[in-house]
């Protein structure tokens, strides 16, 4: 069984900003594995472990530095990685990203494709819908519990009305939620071993993605302008635990809430 996991490198923590000049996300800072994707990696590893066989392949599209994010996921236990990186891919929107990922997945023919809950920089929680359509495979999203038996995946999905249970035959596409599991920490052995695992770097040409379907040229959305968010008024900050409870009470009293 082959499981492909789509992972993204995102700027770390509070460092996220949009570059006013390019109107693109500033990817210059240190990058990290999108935390939501660690859940997808973990789920893939668990499925492989309980099946007692199989292969977990990571797939990412991003700048060459996205190899950092991949390294963490390899250290968790994934078997190998594919990095799609190309200057012409910069500025790709959902549509352009979905083509490149779908082409790479077609080459791999995985039985199962896993996605994380959302990319912490785009907050889209949409990409899998486009990829599943291009791959012509069944999709289950927002999966909080996943089981795999006899070539059928069953997922528990939370919608606006409560929990649904949805089933699909393999090969399928599944997007997991961040509550599906607790991602493992890479062991020292895992970290050391990650460097030796196979990593393949592909360009758009390798995948047969036409240049007018990638990057800004292939995108059908654009950022027109940036502005400051309206301020919510004054916000106060208390640091440290010491006298925090007293300070909270004083604040609530001032607002006449206690």
């Amino acid at each position: 069984m082959r499981i492909a996991v789509c992972v993204k490198q995102v700027p770390e923590g509070a460092a996220k900003r949009i570059d006013p000049a390019t109107r693109r996300l500033d990817r210059a800072g240190e990058g990290a594995l999108n935390a939501y994707d660690a859940n997808a990696v973990e789920e893939a590893l668990r499925l492989k472990e309980s099946a007692g066989e199989g292969e977990v392949v990571l797939l990412t599209m991003g700048p060459a530095r996205a190899a950092d994010a991949i390294r963490k996921a390899l250290a968790m236990g994934a078997d190998r990685a594919i990095l799609v990186t190309d200057d012409a891919a910069a500025g790709s929107d959902l549509l352009a990203t979905s083509i490149a990922l779908a082409r790479a997945l077609e080459r791999e023919q995985p039985d199962l494709v896993l996605f994380g809950q959302q990319a912490a920089d785009s907050d889209g929680a949409v990409l899998w819908g486009a990829v599943a359509d291009r791959l012509r495979r069944p999709l289950i999203s927002q999966v909080a519990e996943l089981t795999l038996a006899d070539g059928v995946v069953t997922g528990k999905r939370q919608s606006e009305f409560g929990y649904d249970v949805i089933r699909a035959p393999l090969p399928a596409v599944v997007a997991v939620s961040d509550s599906i599991n607790e991602p493992r920490y890479p062991s020292l052995k895992g970290i050391m071993g990650a460097k030796k695992k196979p990593q393949e770097t592909l360009t758009l040409a390798d995948l047969g993605v036409e240049s007018d379907r990638a990057g800004e040229a292939g995108s059908r959305t654009e950022v027109l302008a940036l502005s400051e968010p309206p301020s919510r008024g004054e916000s106060r900050r208390i640091d440290g635990d010491g006298a925090a409870p007293e300070a909270i009470i004083a604040f609530l009293a001032e607002k006449r809430l206690v």
Partner: protein, 321 residues
Amino acid sequence: MKVLVFLEHHEGSLEKRGLAVLSKAASLDGAEVAGAVLGAGVGEIAGTAGRFGARTVHVCDDPALEAPLPQPRVDALAALVAEEGFDTVFFAQSVLASDVAAGLAARLEAGLNWDLTDLLVRDGALVGKRPALADSVYVEVGWKGERRLALFRSGAFDPVEVGGQAQVESFSGRFEDFSLQATMVEQAHEERSGPSIEDAEIVVAGGRGLGKPENFSLVEELARELGGAVGATRAVVDAGWYPYSSQVGQTGKTVSPKLYVACGISGAIQHKVGMQNANVIVAINKDANAPIFEYCDLGVVGDLNEILPRLTELVRQRKAG
């Protein structure tokens, strides 16, 4: 501009979210707006859309559309868009609508902008507004190409009744094999247990930062002393720590209490949309970079295990006089 609005329905009525997007679309200059209602046995409810600005409602009534699954809906909408020549399709963000919109984007090679909170026509072009990067920056977005798709954030608009009647037209669906492979084994039915947190004046909510389900007692005790209700994030509801009826956010409840105390909650957008209208928001989180600190009135950086018991005790003392 020929706009189609996807109208989701649940238990025999059209969802307000979709009607809100519909009435917003109908208010745009030069927009001719229609609705799409897809499902099994939905002919009756479609007409309602006329009151919110739809001139036409296209109905696809098919057993293949009975369960709220995205892929057959992509097939039906793609055919409808091609046949009727729509250039724009709008969706009110939901678990189902997001998957449908993304699938349709790929199928039509159309641009999709999501999480929009506003929309306008400037010099004849459609412009969307979207708070991005945990709402730390506001972005204006546009579309390139002939077809435009958009998902609107929950609560972005209110449904406005403009009166009027829609012509209901039915169309038939043809479905791809792969679209029918996912099947619903068990569909959600509204859980109505316990008192609703929507009416509470004070909500104390807990997230994964509580560390373990038993720690919800820290939140419950503070809520009890403050005379409030208990809320939860999706992460802890999915994990089975607390019932779904207490969930606040996009796929849970929307609350607007006088006071919201967020304990061990990171403050993801999908949580924020359910509680941002609280008068006063207090957040306790040990990570000084947590997004929740961007939109609270009082942010406390610290360990809730130490802060909550003492805080509860102080409230108790204060009440005792």
